[in-house]
């Protein structure tokens, strides 16, 4: 099923280019992309335009010269979806809708971790021949979504170290290590004069290789990824410190540009700078952290054992030194029914790497009930009538799921069988591939293609085992008949799958989430049945999260309410229509609706609830201040003059209209971002060309299984980082300062203009590929530079 190359080949058919080609210009042959993680557009543009009195030139002279005076600057370019690196780079690098929606994702059934930001397991896996690409690339490959670099042959590409990286260049690392022990580094170390860090040396080596690559006319794609400004931005809000990093970036840009100009393809080279998101850096404000693991492990939060991808306060633990960690269990001392079982039953899985946004996946509510009831039935001293009622209730719960589980098992087994069959076919195909590679094979990356294939087969086998184990638990549950007369004596672990969350929770589940038995245990109603209300301790997470307040908030500029709003997708009411629910508090809620044509409409509501049968009920309210995203009161809302705000906001509009109307607002493109982040992910998984539809369905299921129950968004200048501290800026939410990103273009023929029309991540790859004369993944997202010149020329 390694269809990546096939997909790339299919997409590599050149089409007559639009935009510049339309204006009579030759498409570019080569592209150089400077990828800057976390560079806020305002910070850059302001310094590009400001004059440094000491030099008589702009503070960032090279950015100003190359792009400000001679290139195209996109003034209003935004991260689409949440402003996080892994999802954002995935869209920038592919030009397609996000199927990766967090920096870490968990498979609900198997606890498989997708830890997209962790480089160490990749290098180790690469060294051990078990991994050939970064995990994000593997996910995209499986979904049949090619990267920009896949439009080039292997030997035409120079790719730096980054999140969506194919292969690793040991040579680069080797050279860096050699430098580490050179006199240039050792002498400053001895003098305590701040020898360059490994990161800095890696940057220098990458630059050296990139500059050398520019002199090779056969290399047509080059990129340089840097995370320096992101690191600095998280650490401090001090403008001078941020400017210092920007100046280094400016000098690097100048050196790359100079090298481009010296190369033989200078006139055919497109130079691009892009950042994945902005950063909420405001001078003199510390970003404060709210500890969600503490919340979920406290009695009030449900007493969950919590699963994270990194240890909390990792700098103060020996285990924090382990760079390979991607599962860290936080034990709750307040758990109501799972004492000492943190390793087996972590029931809240969090992605906190989002900083301003966290994703929360909770164990299926009915699995909690089943678990609690089994523990009750295992008690020796349970009253017979209570035992009988508990057994009856447990049977009801199991019966409720029987049909759904049965169907799920059938489909999943069908998919796993197809996978097994494909595995065997591929193994046979692999046997015929050469075991030794020629120099030409290495040059063309054929050795890596074979290794990639081998690794993929290993993953399939592992997945099959994991899902089969989960199915076994479901089967055991379906087979289980609670005994109303005798004590339950089997092991709970045989029925309730450990390290698994089961199926996603419904809104009703989350509003009535069972966190343990009541202190009095199981209670019967007057009819002798189990009284659900009085037997189970429940939590409604939405008002509970909204009610969180922080005692220690010494900054007047920050609200003591760390959580801004929570969001999730409501069940589909109509095919092709989706509804997303944003919750500030009971009285301030917002529905975002989309139709099959991609139109969007908003509706303010209050007191939205779902009943046990799935019916959603709410009160429609008028527009007012304080609703999620705060659009009604936002002075920057750009709607046609004379139009009533409430009327416009409640109307159906195309996505483009929304973007133009809201992009300057405090929450920038939040309306669109929510639809990108929470839309059904399966629709964005096309599968590779020629892929068995059953396997496409399998891949879609795997993506659906990593979707969280709730997305939690932090209030302004709050963050959810728990492993470390980000007192500087953060990102992840829809604040304009967090989503406002950089996109700059330069090269012979690129018009000198400041494009003020708003664009988002989906426009990037399609436009760049189009300028290179290659097929854009979304032709309707190509920005026509020639057409925009007239309006935006300087």
């Amino acid at each position: 099923m390694n269809f990546r190359l096939a997909a790339a080949a299919a997409l590599c058919v050149a089409v007559p280019s639009c935009s510049l080609a339309d204006s009579g210009k030759t498409p570019f042959q080569r592209v150089v992309i400077l990828k800057v993680d976390g560079l806020n557009a305002e910070l850059l543009y302001e310094n590009m335009r400001q004059i440094n009195e000491a030099t008589g030139k702009p503070v960032l002279p090279w950015f100003a010269h190359i792009f400000g005076q001679n290139g195209t600057t996109f003034e209003n370019f935004y991260t689409r979806g949440i402003s996080l690196s892994a999802p954002s780079w995935s869209m920038l690098d592919t030009g397609q809708h996000a199927i990766i929606r967090g920096n870490v994702e968990w498979d609900r059934y198997t606890e498989h971790v997708y830890d997209y930001l962790n480089f160490f397991p990749f290098y180790l896996g690469y060294a051990r021949n078990r991994q050939i690409d970064m995990q994000g690339v593997e996910v995209l490959d499986r979904a049949g979504i090619p990267l920009i670099i896949d439009r080039f042959q292997w030997d035409q590409v120079y790719q730096s170290f980054q999140l969506y990286q194919r292969g690793a260049r040991w040579r680069t690392l080797q050279d860096v290590l050699k430098q580490r022990f050179s006199s240039r580094v050792l002498i400053p170390s001895l003098e305590s004069a701040g020898a360059p860090s490994l990161d800095e040396m890696l940057g220098q080596q990458t630059e050296k290789e990139l500059v050398a690559g520019l002199q090779d006319p056969d290399i047509l794609y080059l990129d340089y990824y840097t995370g320096d400004i992101d690191h600095e931005g998280h650490a401090t809000n001090q403008p001078a410190a941020l400017l210092s990093v920007l100046k280094r970036l400016d000098a690097l840009t100048g050196r790359i540009w100079t090298a481009i100009q010296k190369s033989s393809l200078a006139q055919q080279t497109l130079f691009v700078v892009v950042s994945d998101h902005g950063m909420n850096n405001v001078p003199d404000i510390h970003s404060e952290g709210f500890n969600l693991p503490d919340f979920f492990s406290s009695a009030a939060g449900g007493g969950h054992h919590v699963l994270l991808n990194r240890h909390e306060l990792q700098d103060y633990k020996m285990v924090g030194l382990n760079p390979l960690v991607h599962r860290a269990y936080a034990r709750s001392t307040d758990t109501f029914y799972l004492p000492g079982q943190v390793d087996e039953y972590p029931t809240a899985w969090l992605d906190l790497d989002g900083n301003e946004r966290a994703s929360v996946s909770l164990r299926n509510n009915d699995l909690n009930k089943i678990h609690i009831l089994l523990l009750q039935l295992a008690k020796r001293d349970l009253q017979p009538n209570v035992r009988a009622a508990a057994a009856a209730y447990l049977s009801e719960v199991l019966d409720k799921h029987r049909e759904g589980w049965s169907e799920k098992i059938t489909r999943l087994e069908q998919e796993l069988n197809a996978l097994q069959s494909e595995t065997e076919d591929q193994k046979q195909a692999l046997e015929s591939t050469p075991k030794k590679f020629t120099h030409d094979d290495y040059r063309m990356g054929r050795d890596k293609a074979v290794r990639r294939h081998v690794n993929e087969l290993a993953h399939w086998e592992q997945e099959r085992d994991e899902y089969t184990a989960y199915i076994a638990h479901l089967r055991a549950l379906m087979k289980f008949k609670p005994d109303a007369a005798r004590r339950f004596s089997a092991r709970v672990q045989e029925l309730v799958p450990p390290r698994s969350l089961g199926d996603a929770n419904t809104l009703y589940d989350l509003q009535n989430y069972v966190v343990g038995p009541e202190p009095a245990g199981m209670v019967l109603d007057t009819s002798g049945n189990l009284d659900e209300q009085r037997s189970f301790r429940t939590v409604n997470y939405f008002p509970l999260l909204a009610a969180q307040r922080v005692r220690n908030n010494p900054q007047a500029a920050l609200s003591s309410k760390p959580i801004d709003f929570t969001a999730l997708r409501l069940p589909d009411a109509q095919a092709g229509h989706e509804t997303y629910w944003l919750y500030c508090d009971d009285d301030h809620q917002l529905l975002i609706r989309t139709d099959e044509s991609g139109n969007i409409q908003l509706q303010p509501v209050s007191h939205l609830v779902q009943d046990a049968d799935g019916k959603v009920d709410f009160t429609a309210i008028s527009w007012k201040d304080g609703l999620p995203l705060h659009l009604f009161e936002d002075a920057e809302l750009q709607i046609p003059s004379g139009t009533d705000r409430a009327t416009w906001l409640s109307g159906w509009h195309r996505e483009r209209e929304w973007l133009e109307a809201i992009n300057l607002c405090k929450y920038s493109n939040g309306v669109i971002g929510i639809t990108e982040e929470l839309s059904p992910v399966a629709a964005n998984v096309p599968g590779t060309p020629g892929m068995d539809p059953v396997l496409v369905s399998y891949e879609q299921r795997r993506r659906e299984l990593v979707q969280p129950d709730i997305e939690v968004f932090a209030s302004d200048h709050w963050n959810f980082n728990a492993r470390n501290f980000n007192p500087g800026g953060n990102h992840g939410a829809f604040f304009r300062i967090s989503t406002h990103s950089v996109w700059l273009l330069a090269g012979a023929g690129v018009p000198a203009q400041d494009v003020t029309e708003p664009y988002d991540s989906l426009n990037f790859a399609s436009t760049v590929l189009n300028l290179l004369g290659k097929t854009p993944p979304m032709p309707d997202r190509v920005v026509n530079l020639a057409a925009s010149t007239q309006a935006n020329a300087r």
Partner: protein
């Protein structure tokens, strides 16, 4: 044999005392006097005065910080630190040079204190400090023109310790080590005090104080003085380090601020940032909210108490018995420094007066027992030190503050900030001072109040010496002649000179002869260095210089260099200038700049000026692109 050893030991002890006096150039003592300087100013400010006719004395004052030591209820302005800037009689960025730093509150410890500092396991500081600071000229804390000298003297003293004193009998080894260790700590404490003052100092690009780059450079030099080989770092690198260290400190403060706030939130305590002596974000206090119960947390808090360095106040027996526990309000638990690199450092424990002191004394005792009493050596018993480092590392990972020097830095800052503060609640300040005083385990130390009083006396004395024929004039003259002697010398020549200086115990200075032309010559040399440094920075960037800096400025620099070079004889400087101009010419695309470079090179070589700009084929597309876009 014993007699010989004793005799040799005595000789060496005297020797090391003498060496330390020579190397540290400690300021002499003077007499006490109370004085106020100028009008009250809020915060920190510079006062610039002429010194030795052709220089400036820049003095940093803390406005209104002297209420504790004067009768003035508004508080006097306290002089903290002075810097000598050699302007050669005219303030211009291209010919100024910073020469010396005085820490005005630093008085030389008396003989009694020095003797006590050589007594092992003596961890107290009797008396308030020297009362005789004003009689003699205060020598500088640091000579910015020769940062390498202390490195060499320190190495000499270390060698003396390892090779001669350590092999001797235990009393000699232990007392010499105690003396040295106390001396180093005392110097570090005052270096850190100076750095702390400088970080608070405003900057001015118009000459009314240090410029930002000057301040960064001085901070870096003082910071590097704390490191063994730090004095060998080049001036350019030092300036970069100074800038970077400021950012790093800001990051550390921000991180510790947030760590402490979050830990307070987790443990149910109250977090309160403290502003002491106008220093924001450097300190914070944790308090217990009275009349409330422990927090509802689902996690084990033991590691958190360890990180905070205090006992769990919710279960501590002493607190339970405390009648003040009930009611409303808060009860202070501890004050933390937020500048310690790894975590917030507990400096004041309100519930356990001696806790921090016990910790310091234990660490010092272990060092003295292992190195001084037992004589464990870094060379022969390296495995002990490896194990000790490992232990420190593991303890550090679990939240213990194991970095003794950085702890001292944090302590030093709070000590002087409390003395200068006039905003904090007096009762709280008094309680903090009483506890902080216990932390000091160095007999050489004086009280902060005494040091501030000395600062005023020493400043007055320094002003006197800054007159035309005072000690400052002599100092400036020597440093100028040393600079003249160094100009245009190769590295090998400079290293040879340093060796002579070291071998002659500092007697050999290698000064240029006195001459009426010295100032004019020095002016040319400094201006040449300035222009070369500017142009070299542009040339080594490898990119078009006219993009980064306005072309007229570059051209004016080239012309200035060109006009000065005929007055320079040094072949090394001429070669450097030609090489820089050649590089500049090859990277530039501006015909005017290229012509200027060619003309300057020709002028340096004594040739005729070329009329045509050189062809530079390296960049082939830039112009085309620009034209196309236009």
């Amino acid at each position: 044999m014993l007699e010989i050893s004793l005799g040799r030991g005595l000789l060496l002890v005297v020797g090391i005392f003498a060496t330390s006096l020579w190397a540290a150039e400690d300021p002499p003592a003077g007499s006490e006097m109370t004085a106020t300087v100028g009008n009250n100013h809020p915060g920190y400010y510079w006062k610039v005065e002429p010194a030795a006719e052709t220089s400036q004395l820049l003095t940093l004052f803390c406005g209104g910080c002297g209420s504790r030591i004067t009768e003035n209820s508004n508080g006097a302005n306290i002089p903290l630190l002075a810097i000598l800037r050699d302007t050669l009689g005219e303030y211009r960025a291209d010919q100024d040079r910073l020469l010396d730093v005085w820490l005005l509150d630093y008085a030389n410890p008396g003989l009694g204190k020095k003797i006590l500092s050589a007594v092992p396991f003596f961890y107290w500081h009797p008396g308030s400090g020297s009362r005789s600071a004003a009689n003699q000229y205060p020598k500088p804390l640091f000579d910015l023109t020769t940062p390498q000298h202390p490195v060499l003297s320190d190495m000499g003293r270390d060698l003396l310790q390892w090779t001669a004193l350590d092999p001797m009998m235990m009393p000699v080894r232990a007392s010499s080590r105690a003396y040295r260790s106390n001396g180093i700590d005392d110097e570090r404490l005052h270096l850190e005090t100076a750095v702390s003052y400088l970080r608070s100092a405003p900057t001015s690009e118009e000459g009314w104080g240090l410029t930002e780059s000057e301040r960064n450079m001085v901070i870096a030099r003082l910071e590097l003085r704390k490191k063994l080989l730090g004095g060998l770092v080049t001036a350019k690198r030092a300036a970069e380090l100074g800038e970077k260290s400021g950012y790093e400190e800001e990051q550390i403060r921000g991180r510790n601020w947030e760590l402490l706030r979050q830990l307070a939130e987790k443990t149910g305590l109250v977090f309160e940032p403290l502003e002491i002596a106008n220093h924001e974000g450097e300190y914070a206090m944790l308090s217990l909210p009275l009349g409330q119960g422990p927090p509802d947390t689902g996690s084990d808090l033991k590691p958190i108490w360890k990180l905070l360095g205090i006992r769990d106040p919710w279960t501590a027996d002493r607190l339970k018995a405390d009648p003040n526990q009930s009611g409303v309000g808060t009860r202070p638990l501890g004050v933390y420094s937020l500048t310690y690199p790894k975590l917030p450092l507990l400096l004041v424990d309100f519930r356990d007066r001696l806790r921090v002191q016990r910790h310091e004394m234990t660490q010092r005792s272990i060092n003295e027992i292992t190195a001084g009493v037992i004589g464990i050596s870094h060379f022969t018993n390296w495995y002990y030190y490896v194990a000790a480092d490992l232990y420190d590392f593991v303890s550090g990972r679990h939240g213990a503050a194991m970095m003794q020097s950085e702890r001292l830095d944090a302590y030093s800052r709070l000590r002087m900030d409390l003395a200068l503060d006039h905003q904090l609640d007096p009762a709280l300040r008094h309680a903090m001072e009483a506890r902080l005083n216990n932390v000091s385990v160095n007999p050489l130390q004086a009280t902060a109040d005494r040091e501030l009083k000395n600062a005023q006396i020493r400043y007055a004395r320094l002003e006197d010496e800054a007159a035309a024929r005072g000690e400052v004039a002599t100092l400036v003259d020597k440093q100028r002649r040393a600079e003249l002697a160094q100009f245009g010398k190769t590295n090998a020549q400079l290293e040879r000179k340093e060796l002579f200086h070291l071998a002659s115990f500092g007697l050999y200075k290698g000064l240029a002869p006195q001459s009426d032309d010295n100032i004019a010559t020095l002016s040319v040399e400094r201006r040449v260095n300035y222009q070369l440094s500017f142009l070299n920075g542009l040339a080594t960037a490898g990119t078009q210089p006219e993009i980064a800096v306005d072309q007229t400025r570059i051209r004016s620099s080239i012309q200035e260099l060109s006009s000065l070079m005929p007055k320079v004889d040094s072949p090394a400087v001429r070669a450097h200038a030609i090489s820089t101009l050649n590089k500049l010419k090859s990277t530039s695309q501006s015909p005017e700049l290229q012509t200027d470079c060619s003309s300057a090179i020709a002028a340096i070589n004594g040739e005729r000026v070329a009329e045509q700009p050189a062809q530079v084929p390296a960049v082939i597309a830039e112009t085309a692109l620009t034209q196309d876009n236009k």
